[in-house]
Amino acid sequence: MIKTSGLKKLYVTEEVETTALNNINIEIDAGEFVAIMGPSGCGKSTLLNVLGMLDNPTDGEYYFLDHEVSSYTESQRANLRKNNLGFVFQSFNLIDELTVYENVELPLLYQKVAPAARKEKVMAAMDQMSMTHRKNHFPQQLSGGQQQRVAVARAVVARPKVILADEPTGNLDSANGDEVMGLLADLNKDGTTIIMVTHAPQYAEYSNRVIHLLDGRVVSEKMSGAGRA
């Protein structure tokens, strides 16, 4: 489903040139739960952004569902993105002016889903995340854990093939963190591919494979937790 070869990402600013990704060759199959780990600044987020087509690599090839997307324009990427990918971020990234319901609905709006179907899907996703009772609240009125559950609901509402999560538990206490991880694990069981960046070894356990990065390179890939079982 996902395959990269010789993926490279350079950040050039006025003073320095940072090689955030260096010759990344990975392959991820449908249905996998992959965790990406490594110290701060090693390129985890950059990799996730490239895999999520939020950014183009500087060099190398990236096959997503057999499309070579490394040189796609932003609008081509946007098109692939909205039909196949869901995102969860450490800082939740909910839109403050929108209610819970409206935040979850957003991807469906851009996919031009008909109103009746939209309502059904939004209610289903919120139900799955147990957020239905908060549907008319604004993000600021929710706790961190609740906000992240809304973010997950938004990521899954369009039934994407892949969910990309960048430290989804980073801003949560352990109870809330556990809960969000449980949600992701459930989604994976239902067949959704999950790629997650995390610092916490105990959450890496939820995955079936851990990719370790250091200074923009893959240093090890091993089966873990769910994978070993």
Binding site: L54, D55, E74, A78, F89, N93, L106
Partner: protein
């Protein structure tokens, strides 16, 4: 989707209340100005459009050129030209001559003096005035016919059912019976020709003596051509007529060249539809507007709108960063550039529509006073034509695009990762923001310069010594038939003089600025000269308090052989010894050779737009004095006026009491400028307020961005003034740089405006510096309060503000 955008936009606007208010207020002021300008321009452009035969109706006009090359535009023409045109040209099928006069109407409810139009029958066939009763064409063909409008019929008789009604009128020729043979609707407000009553041209006193006289120009001539405008070249016809009847004014010599050293006429047709916008042909009958003033007004509206656009754009750019997260999220869930552009433009559109709604509200409230100021009846509700609404739509479209497109493009071009991380990829943005601020301040400075110049010029004019004392002088009109003027002017002068509150009374032919004749004589070499002449009696200089410089004043026993001249006269004709100089064959009468007996100091009798011309005062040989000038004592003016009114009514019950103050008359000369002054002052205040609001918004953004920096600097020991300086530096630099753009533009425009005044202020650096400092002061005050708050805040608070 639409609903989603609408809801999220409304919530966002509601959150940033301050910025939303600045944007909506700014846009609504800009739009109000623009809609006003649009209404006014549309109004002025649609004069006379209702005449069915409009494409064939023209005014004959004269663009005469003097010996010195000066061009004079005149709609006044000799009476015989009308019939002569009909006789000579097959292309002119009908004509109507028109002139103005005054009559006293002895109606059902008393005697009233009224302005009156004298006209020929075809007037009512060529132009489409709605007929209520009777036949106005036939009425003007009768020697005693009379056409009344609905308004005058109602005023004098309380009914329009008047056909056959005898009406007693006192014209200059005496009191006579006329019969109402036509009643028409009032001329529409957008009609160049305005009248209350129309009498046959033959009823005009001087008609018979002047019907064949090519030397006096005292009529307007309206003609109808055989086909629409543009098909006719009547140059040859006009030339032939002039060669036959006034060869001295024909613009060719035998060699076919335009002669030099003498006056000649250029007759031509002015399409009637253009009359309203041809200020050069202003006359008592035609009261055109100056398109230049309309343009100045439209310019103010445009500047206000542009300032509002700048405000919006700058605030949007300044707050771009606060939208990054939202844009990033929308990108992540699948929005493309077009979606984001549409969203942002929708936001601008919504703001503009709110503003439009508010500006309609403002218009409802301000239109009455604006109408009063301009003497118009503009209304939104009468603007039912598509053109107006289409232009309005276009205007809103331009506003939305101009204000929103650039920030929208900026937002939409953000890459998702950059947006999510709040990275501003376009640091040069700061430069375009500063450029915007500079442009905006320079627009404000331009308006300020305009307002200061107009204000100063008006003050200058009002303080300029006129050469006479215009205060406490009352002008009484003697409305009676011409033959009785010698008797009544003398009798009423005595009546007024007898009052203890009256210091002196003079008889004059007209008020100060009206009633000037242009009469000529020949010098020793036989060369013809001309000067302005006014008929006055021996108390004129005394009553007006005009200084006598040499010689003696007119005396009671003087007749038409004595005259006074002004300094300009002495200078223009190079008289070394003016006293005793004889003007040979004065006023075309070979036997009349008056002598100059005194020289008085120059005084301004026209608007200060023009220079003092050579002038002559003498006694009217026929004693046709239509006015009395009374200088009254400053104490108890109203009591005096009351007594004078009572004495007048007792002495002359048949002559309506009709007076006004001379200084009001003189103010009326500057009515256009005063309107312009009021409008400019308003525009300047609005411009200054709008740009101050914009700067306030910019400063808020700047300071909130630098809160942390300010905190750190204070911890490190920066003083309050140092921080204020830091925060104000950029604003000061922008305000100063703005002058580089504003000064040349303002200087050129205002120099051109001042050019139309013969007596004018110097446009020196003072005004430019004044406007610059005012703009700087306002921006500093705006910024200062915010900067002060930021600078004096507890550093811990500002550091925590992360």
């Amino acid at each position: 989707m639409l609903k989603h955008y609408l809801i999220s936009t409304l919530r966002r606007l509601g959150r940033a209340k301050g910025f939303t208010a600045i944007n909506i207020i700014g846009m609504s002021v800009g739009l109000t100005g623009s809609v006003l300008a649009l209404l006014l321009v549309r109004y002025e452009l649609s004069f006379d459009k209702y005449h069915e035969r409009l494409d064939r109706i023209h005014l004959v006009v004269n663009r005469s050129v003097s010996a010195s090359g000066k061009v004079d535009h005149q709609p006044w023409l000799p009476l015989p030209l009308g019939p002569e045109l009909l006789a000579t040209s097959t292309e002119i099928v009908r004509s109507a001559r028109l002139t103005l006069g005054e009559v006293i109407v002895h109606g059902g409810s008393g005697s009233f003096e009224e302005d009156i139009l004298f006209g020929e029958p075809y007037l009512f066939e060529m132009l489409s005035f709605a007929v209520i009763a009777g036949d106005p064409v036939a009425a003007l063909a009768q020697p005693d016919g009379l056409v009344m409008t609905r308004q005058s019929a109602m005023k004098h008789f309380g009914t329009v059912d008047l056909i056959g009604q005898p009406v007693s009128l006192t014209t200059e020729a005496g009191r006579r019976e006329f019969r109402v043979l036509g009643v028409v609707e009032n001329p529409p407000a957008q009609s160049t020709l305005q009248f209350q009553m129309v009498l046959p041209l033959q009823a005009w006193l001087t008609y018979t003596t002047r019907a064949l006289n090519w030397n006096a120009s005292n009529t307007h001539i309206l003609v109808e051509t055989a086909g629409p405008v543009g098909k006719f070249d009547l140059t040859d016809t006009f030339l032939a007529i002039l060669l036959k009847n006034r060869s001295d004014r024909a613009p060719v010599t035998d060699q076919g060249e335009i002669p030099t050293g003498r006056r000649y006429w250029n007759l031509s047709l002015l399409p009637f539809v253009e009359a309203h916008l041809s200020p050069q042909y202003a006359s008592g009958l035609l009261q055109p507007v100056d398109p230049q003033n309309l343009m100045i007004l439209a310019g103010f509206a445009a500047i206000l709108l542009i300032i509002a656009i700048f405000n919006f754009m700058l605030l949007a750019l300044g707050r771009l960063q606060s939208r990054f997260k939202e844009v990033g999220v929308r990108r992540v869930v699948g929005a493309n550039g077009a979606d984001l552009t549409a969203m942002f433009m929708g936001e601008v559109l919504l703001t503009a529509l709110f503003a439009l709604g508010i500006s309609f509200l403002i218009l409802e409230l301000t239109l009455p006073s604006f109408n009063k100021l301009l003497g118009r009846d503009l209304a939104l509700t009468t603007a039912t034509d598509l053109g107006f609404w289409a232009s309005l739509l276009l205007l809103v479209g331009i506003l939305v695009l101009a204000a929103g497109l650039y920030p929208a493009r900026k937002l939409a071009s953000l890459q998702p990762v950059q947006a999510l991380h709040g990275i501003d990829p376009s640091n040069p943005e700061k430069r375009s923001i500063q450029l915007g601020v500079i442009l905006q301040i320079s627009l404000t400075i331009i308006i300020l310069v305009a307002a200061l110049v107009i204000n100063k010029q008006m003050k200058f004019i009002q303080e300029q010594p006129l050469g006479f004392n215009e205060s406490q002088v009352v002008l009484y009109k003697i409305a009676t038939e011409m033959d009785e003027l010698p008797l009544w002017s003398q009798r009423l002068k005595e009546v007024l003089s007898r009052d203890s509150g009256v210091q002196s009374v003079a008889k004059v032919s007209y008020s100060v600025n009206r009633g000037w004749n242009r009469l000529g004589w020949r010098d020793n070499a036989g060369k013809p000269w001309r000067a302005l002449v006014k008929d006055v009696d021996e108390d004129y200089l005394k009553t007006m308090e005009i200084a006598l410089l040499s010689g003696r004043d007119l005396a009671a026993q003087d007749g038409e052989e004595a005259m006074l001249v002004n300094e300009a006269f002495v200078e223009a004709f190079g008289l070394d010894e003016p006293i005793g100089y004889v003007l040979d064959g004065f006023a075309g009468d070979a036997d009349r050779d008056p002598t100059i007996i005194g020289v008085f100091s120059d005084f301004h009798f026209f608007s200060l737009r023009s220079e003092v011309a050579p002038m002559i005062l003498w006694k009217n040989p026929a004693e046709y004095y239509q006015y009395l000038l009374a200088r009254i004592a400053a104490d108890d003016v109203s009591g005096t006026l009351q007594r004078l009114g009572d004495s007048w009514k007792r002495a002359a019950p048949g002559i309506p009491l009709n007076y006004n103050f001379l200084d009001e008359d003189i103010q009326a000369l500057y009515i256009q400028e005063q309107k312009l002054q009021a409008v400019t002052r308003g525009a300047a205040i609005l411009a200054l307020t709008l740009s101050a609001m914009g700067l306030l918004g910019m400063a808020t953004i700047e300071i909130s961005r630098r809160t942390k920096e300010i905190g750190i600097r204070k911890v490190l020991g920066a003083s309050v003034p140092e921080i204020m300086g830091l925060l104000s530096r950029r604003m000061v630099v922008s305000s100063l740089l703005a002058n580089i753009i504003a000064w040349p533009v303002a200087w050129i425009v205002m120099q051109k405006w001042l050019g139309s005044f013969a007596y004018r202020i110097e446009l020196g650096p003072g005004i430019l510096l004044g406007a610059a400092s005012l703009a700087l002061l306002v921006s500093l005050l705006t910024l200062g309060t915010l900067a002060m708050r930021a600078a004096t805040a507890n550093p811990v608070d500002s550091l925590r503000y992360e």
